[in-house]
Amino acid sequence: MARVVLVGNLTQLTGGVAEFDLSATSVRQLFRQLADLHPEIAPHLEEGVAVAIDGQIYQDALLEPIGADSEVFILPQIAGGSLEDVP
């Protein structure tokens, strides 16, 4: 099971729960499983978040694989030259 940690305001959409153990094998699966558990978070995942898998940050990478023992952080989208709004 991957350990999944929500960073920042996303926990307000999960009743304050910040950590999950999920069996997702890809970012897409991870988002689906989180959305099943907490439907309110779904649009925010779609709107743009970054996902750090074992320390490596991915953006807009739904197909990125997640290992069984991976540590995954869901972060606000990393902006850069543009400003992006996140929940």
Binding site: A52, G55, Q56, E71, I78, G80, S82, L83
Partner: protein, 764 residues
């Protein structure tokens, strides 16, 4: 120090100071920037802007302007469809088009002085300006608010009746200027402070500053009778311009072709649209090309600066110098619409350091100023300035060398970032070591001179990128990228292509393609274009090499796996007398007979952008008679992963340092009590010029990014992060005064010196 060097085909040009492909045109004036484009029959577009910082627009009567001979089109809010409040993808950005459409053309209210209210296209600039005066706008002037703290107060003038603070519980039932509250935390901040032997708490204030690009916004747009359009524009992202304009004007993306002109600076400020949708709307109405160029006054009043902010920082350390707790509260101006860079400010504040207990809270606050746009490492310079100032104070309290203290707490590979995940390889310790070894660090200073050091962090990003390599009939290679070249992209990518294909650098001709020539490219920003572009070039070159090997296999009647591409030649892996290796030039001659044109297209969504950290060292001198600060010496050390083109990398370091000097010492938006900007020009908005700064020494540290084939990290944004803290720390060492408000301009410095030491600093 780890050196990169894992290029896939040897490195003859990568890492060298190759001639810039765009250099000759730029020094001879041949290069065409945004305002250099013209079309036959073009009209000149001008914008009518609100004179009020906050006013309800009761009515707009354009009839007299439309009747003026020479006027071909007038547009107002009625020419733009309203959009619902929802964040939707535009390219790779999330945008709330309810705000975007209101920013490019005011609807119910004018929300800042300079807000566009109407626009005119006429046969000459004189007629267009005359027409603007004939537009009759009736305003209901409303109270305004500029300052971020004042905007947060109960009873402050409310900009948006439908803006309710997000991120607080319970959900508010009244509108507010506070768009959202964000927070990151780890550990137990109270427990962390209990462990601290030393605690420093300070409040800082930074003024809003503009990116200060030399070239104003400029666009030429033409819409044909069949609804297709072409645009030439000064932008950091022509695909983003296309996406925004299509959405705002209800056009198909495929019907808009956008060309990126050469760009005279952007620094984040040219990642959004202002004139572009207006020019297209005017052209669509007038059925003629429309050219629009902002004046400098318009750039200041109507395009996005970065936030002014108030930041509180509280840090705790043990007596042996270990940081144990870091807390901060950030209040950032967003301008007239939500979306300040407070989120990255929150995430970056403590990113350079390994601290167990961290809590950072941020507020995104609207006020009657132009909507902020990105500005180089958006949000990070402000929060890191405050933290770096406090780090310096802790060093003094503990009697520890400031570089040593940073070294003791520096984030490194495996450190859990304050925002969550663990870092991969990082170069902060290497930059600190590099600075400490400089002759600069060890040079003595005189009275009223001070030395400061500060470090800085920025994430960097990758993103969608598409490039092409086409082998021409003579074996030369055309390289096309889809991100505007701002800081040396063409030279960097040409060097990678030459090395990957094993051909001379001058046989690669790089150009920036228009939106119809390549697949989607995210913009030049986030320090991503050389990082992502070079990854895409490697992919495109791989396709060419694979194709050549496949064709050679057929020509030589061998198996493909018996053939390789190396040293610029296709050849058998085991040398054979029957086969003569073929160069790219040889193959180009028979391309048609062996299957047609040869080329490759790299289409990637680049991941694996490694953060870049830097450390700046500055010496300055304060004139106690005038308060003027002179920068005496400046050294930048930053981790580039691998410098594809060292001169351009050094240029980024130097440019960031100079921008930071301006931000720290002089630049600020000055508003009158009437909410109007009083210094909308370079005479009164004091940016550093060449004579204000010494040569900036640049040290390129290379700790390879393992996720990039050459080890590259983005380098463009980090250099703006450390200067504010480094200069404030140098000021404290020069004067004995901790300045907590930027800019540290002569009047403020003089006042502080007089309060502490008497007139002329006599008491020191």
């Amino acid at each position: 120090m780890t050196m990169a060097g894992n290029g896939t085909n040897g490195q003859q040009y990568v890492g060298t100071r190759t001639i810039r492909p765009d250099g000759a045109d730029k020094v001879t004036g041949r290069a065409r920037f945004g305002a250099d484009y013209n079309l036959a029959g073009q009209l000149i577009g001008k914008v009518l802007r609100s004179p009020h910082p906050h006013a309800r627009i009761v009515s707009i009567d354009t009839s007299k302007a439309e009747a003026l001979p020479g006027v071909k089109a007038v547009i107002t809010r009625d020419d733009f469809a309203d959009m619902p409040s929802e964040f939707i993808p535009a390219g790779e950005m999330m945008m709330n088009y309810k705000d975007v459409t209101r920013n490019v053309m005011a609807r119910e209210k004018a929300l800042y002085e300079g807000h566009a209210v109407a626009a005119v296209a006429a046969t000459s600039a004189v007629i267009a300006k005359k027409a603007l005066k004939l537009i009759d706008v009736t305003y209901d002037v409303l109270p305004h608010v500029i300052d971020v703290v004042e905007a947060m107060q109960p009873g402050a003038p409310i900009l948006h009746d439908d803006l309710f603070t997000v991120g607080v519980e319970p959900k508010p039932d009244r509108p507010s200027n506070v768009a959202k509250r964000v927070e990151i935390s780890q550990g137990d901040i109270d427990a962390g402070f209990k462990r601290a032997d030393v605690i420093v708490e300070r409040e800082f204030k930074t003024a809003p500053v503009h990116q200060g690009y030399i070239e104003p916004h400029a666009v030429l747009a033409t819409v044909s009778e069949d609804g297709s359009a072409e645009v030439w524009v000064s932008t950091q992202g022509h695909y983003i311009v296309r996406a925004h304009c299509a959405r705002l004007l209800g056009m198909d993306i495929g019907k808009i072709r956008v060309n990126a002109a050469e760009i005279g600076g952007g620094f984040g400020g040219k990642t959004v649209v202002y004139l572009e949708p207006l020019a297209l709307a005017l052209s669509r109405k007038a059925k003629r090309p429309v050219k629009m160029v902002m004046s400098r006054e318009e750039v200041f009043k109507a395009s996005g600066p970065t936030s002014g902010a108030v930041v509180k920082v509280k840090m705790g350390a043990t007596k042996d110098g270990k940081f144990v707790a870091g807390w901060a509260e950030l209040k950032y101006q967003a301008g007239a619409f939500q979306g300040s860079p407070v989120q990255p400010g929150v995430m970056c504040a403590y990113a350079p350091y390994e601290i167990e207990h961290v809590k950072v809270v941020g507020y995104d606050v609207v006020s009657n100023r132009p909507k902020v746009a990105a500005y180089r490492a958006p949000g990070a310079p402000i929060s890191e300035y405050a933290v770096e100032s406090v780090v310096d104070e802790i060093a003094k309290k503990l009697g520890i060398d400031p570089i040593q203290l940073r070294m003791m707490n520096a984030a490194h590979e495996g450190t859990k970032a304050a925002y969550g995940p663990k870092f991969g390889p990082l170069g902060l310790e290497e930059t600190l070591n590099s600075i400490k070894k400089t002759e600069h660090w060890n040079t003595p200073l005189r009275k009223w001179q001070g030395r400061g050091v500060a470090s800085g962090f920025w994430f960097n990003i990758g993103g969608e990128t598409c490039v092409s390599l086409t082998v021409n009939e003579d074996g030369t290679v055309s390289l096309m990228a889809g991100t505007p070249d701002i800081g040396g992209l063409r030279a960097s990518l040409a060097a990678v292509a030459a090395d990957e294909l094993g051909i001379p650098y001058d046989k690669v001709r790089p150009i920036i393609g228009d939106t119809g020539s390549l697949g989607f490219n995210f913009l030049t920003g986030g320090s991503r274009s050389a990082f992502s572009g070079s990854m895409a070039i490697v992919e495109a070159a791989k396709q060419i090499k694979s194709e050549l090997c496949a064709r050679a296999a057929k020509l030589w009647e061998m198996k493909p796996d018996e053939i390789e591409y190396a040293g610029g030649h296709v050849k058998p892996k085991v040398a054979s007398e029957k086969v003569t290796p073929m160069s790219l030039v040889d193959f180009a001659k028979v391309a048609g007979k062996t299957g047609g044109p040869i080329g490759g297209v790299g289409r990637i969504n680049a991941q694996g952008a490694g953060p870049s950290l830097g450390t700046h060292l500055v010496d300055l001198e304060v004139d106690p008679e005038t308060g003027r600060v002179t920068i005496l010496r400046y050294t930048v050390a930053q981790d580039a992963g691998k410098a594809l083109h060292p001169a351009y990398v050094e240029g980024q370091f130097q440019g960031g340092a100079v921008q930071g000097i301006g931000w720290a010492l002089n630049e600020e938006y000055i508003y009158g009590a009437d909410g109007k900007l009083q210094n909308a020009g370079f005479l009164d908005y004091r940016m550093p010029v060449a004579s204000d700064v010494p040569k900036i020494d640049a040290i390129v540290v290379e700790v390879a990014n393992p996720r990039h084939p050459y080890g590259v990290r983005g380098v463009g944004e980090t250099p703006i992060v450390p200067p504010l803290g480094a200069i404030a720390n140098a000021m404290e060492n020069a004067t004995g005064i901790r300045f907590t408000e930027l800019p540290m301009s002569p009047p403020k410095v003089l006042k502080a010196l007089k309060e502490k030491y008497g007139a002329g600093g006599a008491g020191r």
